[in-house]
């Protein structure tokens, strides 16, 4: 097993609030992304996925961030100075934000917004001193013969924008939504990163455009061997694009698995509920859509133990205890008390009561230390 490019364990991100009730947006999250893979981070709104992503690059300054391990490329990101982070941002890690219209600067041309990344991260031998940047912005404009500009046009072509040389002179509001998103991707690629964090890059786009963008992203990731952390609420996107997935709910990880495993053998009740609620094209008309009843808990008032227990059909007494880690298979982990058998010696301090007993199914993972009991076969 190769070493992960991004290795995060037990991440906690807390936002202090004026009214005293701190919001723990991320509560004990593990996240691993391997080089060159596309990893999806799935969850509904409020699950903490965006916060997780932003905290990787330490963009969440007003929050209190702790972790047992918080490493990128072997370096502890929490220990880095702000100056060191600045050289990592854009250079080794690129970010694609959700709403390109508000994430792109309305008064700087699209080409320049890409070119400056090239400049700042050593892709061109041009000065990035404050004076020269300001001169470029307010007086002379960016030299279209310069390395950084040419590279910007190259990148625009690479992400599939037609007539790139002309487009580079345009401003964000002059482009369509899909084009803007491609610009964001180009911007993220400009520093030659090894990881791109894409925060819901296609949520604001309509379906056909979304599909194109995702294809483009996948192609670029493969071609340049870039890892992608793709944050989304859409399982369809995950199925189409990702190699492996982490499922989050209300600040915690519920399950993590390779994509096929997740869809074939989802272990966590929440994952199952999510998959079940995907509308199927072959369902009969008039049939109700399946949903997970209830709504996510208020982050200031999460239930103890498993945050999903108030909506879970299979919740039982042990669910008030902290989440256990259960290894299902190769790189497939689920955090649910249902997986614990009567025998103690599991990886976490879970209590041992269950509503009913069913025939155990074979443990598929070499790392498994106990037999696995499926309590919910009937729920399928």
């Amino acid at each position: 097993m190769s070493t992960p490019l991004l290795d995060i364990q037990n991440l906690q991100v807390t936002f202090p609030s004026a009214s005293g009730e701190d919001v723990r947006a991320v509560d004990g999250v593990d996240l691993r992304v391997y080089p060159g893979e596309i990893h999806g981070l799935v969850g509904e709104s409020g699950s903490g996925k965006s916060v997780t992503a932003k905290s990787i690059m330490r963009l969440t300054d007003d929050a209190h961030t702790t972790a047992d391990r918080f490493e990128y490329d072997g370096r502890d990101l929490l220990a880095q100075s702000e100056a060191a982070m600045r050289s990592i941002r854009g250079d080794e890690v690129g970010i694609v934000f959700q709403d390109a219209l508000s994430a792109l600067n309305p008064v700087i041309s699209v080409g320049e917004q890409i070119a400056e990344v090239v400049r700042y991260h050593g892709g061109a031998a041009e000065s990035t001193s404050l004076v020269s940047e300001l001169r470029r912005k307010y007086l002379t404009g960016t030299d279209t013969e310069s390395t950084s500009w040419r590279r910007a046009v190259e990148l625009l072509e690479m992400v599939g924008i037609p007539d790139a040389a002309q487009c580079a002179h345009n401003y964000p509001h002059q482009l369509s939504g899909g084009q803007r998103q491609r610009v964001m991707i180009a911007q993220a690629l400009a520093g030659d990163p090894s990881l791109i964090i894409a925060d819901e890059p296609t949520t604001a786009l309509d379906v056909t455009v979304e599909s194109n963008i995702l294809q483009e992203l996948k192609r670029l990731a493969t071609e340049f061997d870039i890892a992608v952390l793709l944050i989304t609420h859409d399982l369809g996107v995950v199925a189409e694009t990702c190699d492996s997935v982490t499922v989050m709910y209300s600040g915690s990880v519920m399950e993590r698995a390779p994509t096929t495993a997740l869809f074939d053998t989802p272990e966590h009740p929440y994952t199952r509920g999510l998959i079940r609620s995907i509308p199927k094209y072959d369902s009969s008309p008039g049939e109700d859509l399946s949903t997970i009843p209830g709504s996510a808990p208020d982050p200031t008032r999460r239930p103890t133990g498993c945050p999903f227990r108030d909506r879970c059909e299979d919740a039982f007494d042990a669910c008030t205890d902290p989440l256990p880690t259960h290894h299902v298979g190769e790189d497939h982990v689920s955090h649910c008390h249902l997986h614990n058998t009567e025998t103690p010696g599991t990886t976490a301090s879970a209590d041992q009561s269950r509503p009913n007993e069913h025939a155990p199914s074979p443990a598929a993972t070499p790392a498994a230390e106990h037999t696995d009991t499926e309590a919910n076969l009937e729920q399928q």
Partner: protein, 319 residues
């Protein structure tokens, strides 16, 4: 619509507004109780002389003829003659304009040079002591009438510092330095309230910009904070400020007139006040029209300036 179209449209609008202003002035002046002819000739002129004067002034004609004459005179740049001195009004006003324009220009320059950086500083150090001090000073400056600031400046500065005179005006022709020293206090008096408003506006606009998504993107790209502030943030922050700066020119005018009185400067403001006292109507009405024209076209310039810094206005929507 393109830049050219917009400019033409606004110019036409500006001309229309000036036209309306001129008409209103025409009506207003004609509403003066009393007879302008009598006023000009003095109290004990006889009836014949008055009648002759009326004919000369064209007051015996029907209103629409007078209006037509008035407008055509206006278009030719003829604003009549001063009742008091007989000089052409335009000449008189232009002759008195240099001090006033100097005060206005220097005042605005000082104001902008101080207010915009102060506003930016306030925003970046929000709630810090810099912000507190800047806010306090801003509020004080917008709460003081310009003439008061002038009086205080004279008492506090001019009486202590020999190099800075406390009254009068030195034309540029006598040298930049003496001119500047003389114009300094009056310009400060006029510019300070203006600066107060601009700095508050800059502050709040900057705060707004700092919370925008694109500033976070800049950070995520690894752009150093000062470059992010000045390259990514500043132009966006200045847009609302530019809009407001034009509208506020009106505030300056009252200040200039009052300050000229305080500092004993023989400028346009003083001319205006004196003309009122002497009931020299051609000068009063000429002043109103000229100031309106200046005002309207200054705002046109500000509009164009805004267009040049806002690409959304300059280049339309999706291509």
């Amino acid at each position: 619509m393109g830049v050219a179209e917009y400019t033409i449209k606004r110019t036409i609008q500006a001309v229309a507004v000036v036209y309306v202003v001129a008409t209103v002035v025409f009506i207003a002046i004609r509403s003066v109780p009393g007879d302008p002819a009598r006023l000009i000739l003095g109290g004990d002129a006889d009836a014949d002389a008055i009648a002759a004067m009326r004919r000369e002034l064209g007051l015996d004609q029907p209103m629409y003829v007078q209006y037509f004459r008035w407008m055509s005179d206006l278009l030719r740049g003829d604003l009549g003659e001063s009742i008091y001195t007989g000089e052409p009004v335009i000449g008189r006003i232009v002759g008195a304009a240099e001090p006033s324009v100097s005060i206005a220009v220097v005042g605005i320059c000082i104001a902008m040079a101080v207010a915009i950086p102060a506003g930016i500083l306030s925003a970046t150090r929000q709630n810090g002591w810099e912000d507190y001090v800047a806010t306090l000073v801003s509020f004080l400056s917008i709460s003081m009438p310009a003439f008061w600031i002038g009086i205080v400046l004279i008492l506090v500065v001019a009486t202590r510092v020999d190099a800075i005179p406390s009254y009068g005006y030195t034309p540029i022709s006598e040298g930049i330095r003496p001119w500047l020293l003389n114009i300094l206090l009056p310009s400060l008096a006029v510019g300070l309230p203006y600066a107060g408003i601009i700095s508050r506006m800059t502050r709040s606009s900057m705060l707004d910009v700092l919370s925008q998504d694109y500033m976070q993107t800049a950070r995520a790209k690894g752009i150093p904070p000062r470059a992010a502030l000045l390259k990514h943030g500043l132009q966006n922050a200045l847009m609302p400020v530019v809009t407001v700066a034009g509208i506020l020119f009106a505030l300056l005018l009252g200040g200039i007139v009052a300050v000229e009185i305080v500092f004993g400067i023989q400028g346009f403001g003083r001319l205006l006040i004196r003309s009122i006292e002497r009931q020299d109507f051609p000068i009063v009405q000429g002043s109103v029209i000229i100031v309106s024209i200046i005002f309207v076209f200054m705002n046109l310039v500000v509009d164009l300036l805004y267009m040049s810094i806002n690409p959304k206005v300059r280049y339309g929507g999706e291509s």
